[in-house]
């Protein structure tokens, strides 16, 4: 129904896409998989005729018997939203915050002149019901900020399918969502495809998502399609080495030998972190919100402890308390025999360091790497005088050329930045590093390398880790014990293997069931 033939795109002098040919069959799901920069989003934008300024497309994009690359913009406007709908990754910014959800869905109908204002609202209500937002519970007058991320993504889907398009393009539709929400949205998309007979172009970096959703898959790398075919045979065969690499990286588990459990270095006892409730009226306040509600655990030297939970469960709040950045309202955190609080002496902070998720926001863009990595030296009463030598040493440890210490952070890639972030955490020779979603923002192949690095450093330096993640497969690969957190409480805790093999708490089971996986038997052929 839509066919790209030798679609090439250049922006300025850079070739972005190189002779991409995809055939999107009606009523089927076509998956487009690749890492960042592979050109998968650009393919979608080229189909929609929404290339960034300075971009030119050659080849053909056939919708029916029309070539979308040659028809005038006015005709394209008719097609966009009407015959081709699109949803994006970030449900927080894809909706206009000052318009109600009803108006936003109705607008699509109205703009295309397919309905009068009154009709448009009625159809909008139908479509919202279709995507699981029944008007009894979600009136059209709701504003986007009154909805959760998953609900907003449903509104975005309702907008995209308002005119029953023939093709829906979904660009990483679930990447910003929690696993259980992701499962629901994917289910919804699958159902819509089946019931409305539309085609879905599903763009994602996640092989497991494609495995569960797509009829056809195309794997992209550097602007080219390296392998394409029906999903199951493609997964079974994996002819192209890049597909194999991608697959291996996505299920990569670094080799690690669990260190013998040492003495406990960090204990939390009944920790409570609460925030003041929201304002009610001029002076009143609602009851305080307990973000962390009676959490207790012990971490031994050399141990890797996983902390799993969905967004808003209190993981980050707990992390900040463990780092001694925020005071706790009840309970006690002890590290190395001393109580942790915001007023702990700097010397004690040197023992616990942290690596954050966002490789871009973790560094002051105006500092050179040497100064960035050496920042924790501030914790020491008398900082070492051989600062450059120490920085060079940790940079070498994490696989960054020490010559890079005179450069600025923007000269490094996401993966390299995360290595530098680890170097910064290592420089005070801490006993414990908190990895707060430290690999979540990375491409799978980079993620595999960073996981290996983390495992290697643990063996070399006898480090303990607290590994916080929403990604269960990663936690499974690198931790000894795991805690599952829901609504501020630890609902299940135990040996990682045991918890994953036989989850006891219903929430853990729900999380595991929602995690997309590639069917085991598809993998046999190339394991052998």
């Amino acid at each position: 129904m839509i066919r790209c033939e030798k679609l090439s795109v250049t922006i300025g002098d850079d070739a972005i896409l190189h002779e991409v040919s995809v055939d999107i069959a009606p009523g089927k799901v076509t998956g487009l998989v690749g890492e960042s920069g592979s050109g998968k989003s650009m393919t979608a934008l080229a189909i929609m005729g929404l290339l960034p300024r300075g971009g030119t497309a050659t080849g053909r994009v056939m919708l029916g018997d029309e070539d979308l690359l040659t028809i005038p913009e006015k005709r394209l406007c008719d097609i966009r939203g009407n015959r081709i709908g699109m949803i994006f990754q970030e449900p927080m910014t894809a909706l206009n915050p000052v318009k109600t959800i009803g108006d936003q869905v109705a607008e699509t109908l109205f703009v295309h002149g397919k309905a009068t204002r009154a009709d448009a609202r009625r159809i909008a209500a139908e479509k919202l019901e279709r995507v699981g937002l029944p008007p009894e519970r979600f009136p059209l007058s709701r504003f986007p900020h009154e909805l959760s991320g998953g609900q907003r993504q449903r509104v975005a889907i309702a907008m995209a399918i308002a005119l029953s398009p023939e093709l829906l393009i979904a660009d990483e539709p679930t990447t910003a969502l929690d696993v259980t929400t992701q499962a629901q949205i994917l289910d919804l998309l699958k159902r819509l495809v089946a019931e409305e007979g539309m085609s879905l172009l599903l763009i994602t970096h996640d092989l497991a998502v494609v495995a569960g959703m797509a009829d056809h898959v195309a794997v992209m790398k550097d602007g080219e399609i390296v392998e394409a075919g029906a999903t199951e045979p493609l997964f079974r065969r994996m002819e192209h080495p890049y597909t194999k690499r991608l697959f291996a990286a996505s299920s990569h588990a670094p080799e690690r030998t669990p260190l013998p459990g040492g003495e406990p270095i960090l204990t939390a006892r009944n920790v409570v972190r609460s925030y003041p409730g929201e304002r009610r009226g001029l002076f009143g306040r609602a009851d305080p919100v307990r973000a962390v509600d009676g959490v207790s655990f012990t971490l031994a030297r050399g141990e890797s402890l996983g902390l799993v939970g969905e967004s808003g469960c209190g993981k980050s709040t707990l992390t900040r308390a463990l780092l001694g950045l925020d005071a706790v309202q009840a309970g006690e955190i002890t590290a190395f025999g001393n109580r942790v609080s915001p007023d702990i002496p700097n010397a004690m902070r040197a023992g616990i360091q942290v690596v954050f998720q966002d490789p871009y926001g973790s560094f002051n863009p105006r500092w050179r790497v040497e100064r960035l990595v050496a920042e924790p030296f501030h914790l020491m009463a008398d900082p070492p005088t051989d600062r450059r030598a120490r920085v060079a040493e940790v940079l070498k440890d994490v696989g960054i050329d020490p010559a890079g210490m005179d450069r600025y952070i923007h000269e490094f890639s996401g993966g390299q930045r995360q290595r530098i972030a680890i170097a910064r955490a290592l420089i005070t020779k801490p006993d414990l590093i908190v990895l707060d979603e430290a690999v979540s923002a990375l491409d799978v192949s980079i993620r595999a390398q960073i996981l290996d690095l983390i495992a290697k450093l643990q063996a070399e330096h006898g480090l303990s880790y607290i590994f916080i993640s929403h990604d269960l497969s990663v936690v499974r690969a690198v931790t000894d014990r795991v805690m599952v957190m829901q609504a501020g409480r630890i609902v299940e805790t135990g040996e990682t293997q045991a918890v994953f093999d036989a989850p006891e708490h219903p929430y853990t089971r729900q999380l595991l069931a929602a995690t997309p996986t590639i069917p085991e038997d598809w993998q046999e052929t190339h394991d052998a």
Partner: protein, 273 residues
Amino acid sequence: MKWPVSLVAGAVLSVLFVVVALLSFVWTPHDVATLAIADKLQPPSPTYWLGTDHFGRDTLSMLMVGARTSIAVAIVAVGIGIVVGVPLGLAAAANRGSLIDEIIMRGNDLVFAFPSLVIAILITAVFGPSAVNAILAIGIFNIPVFARVTRGGALSIWTLDYILAARVAGKGKLRISVEHILPNILNLLIVQGTIQFSLGILAEAALSYIGLGAQPPTPSWGRMLAEAQTMIYTAPRLAMWPGLAIVAMVLGLNLMGDGLRDLLDPRVRRERA
């Protein structure tokens, strides 16, 4: 890299005025303090390029020295705003939601609530008209402007991970503000500085025009306008030259401010590329 046209045009105009003002320290075509009544109200000529006023003083020389006054007043007034306003803004952002934040920001609101020029008139009327009092009066109203811009910019930086990393490294609010926040909001301050600079020049001209700014015999654009007022029919050029000077300088600074914002704001930069 392509430089935005407005930035180049604005910078050229602004630099031109600064050079002229500096030049006036060492050389002017004529002495502005000597009166030559015999040469009064001369039209432009090779001797007097822009003509003379009713006391026979050379208009060009007056403009050159007047630029000095305007720029000096504006620099000091913006300086007061930055030196007091920026630390206040940083302190408010570092203690977001605390009593300190409330006191600083409500204090700002209080200053904002008064019409600035009227209060400046009041101050100069009470403490006596002089360039120094004009500077103080204009400077005080720059404080809340810079405090707000600083706080707004700083708040968004405070939420970033590298600030958290710095806190994990045991750094206090003061240190973080100086080392991490300030360098990253410098672009905002530069842009605001240029805009306040042009407003300062306007305010000085306005105060001098009503006789509350620089006092005779110090030449000032505002007072040149005021003195030319009575002769607007006999010698309109006397009002025209200082008026043009004010317009050109303010236009130049505003263009430069806009251009700098385009240049320093990554979002705008991406759109232009």
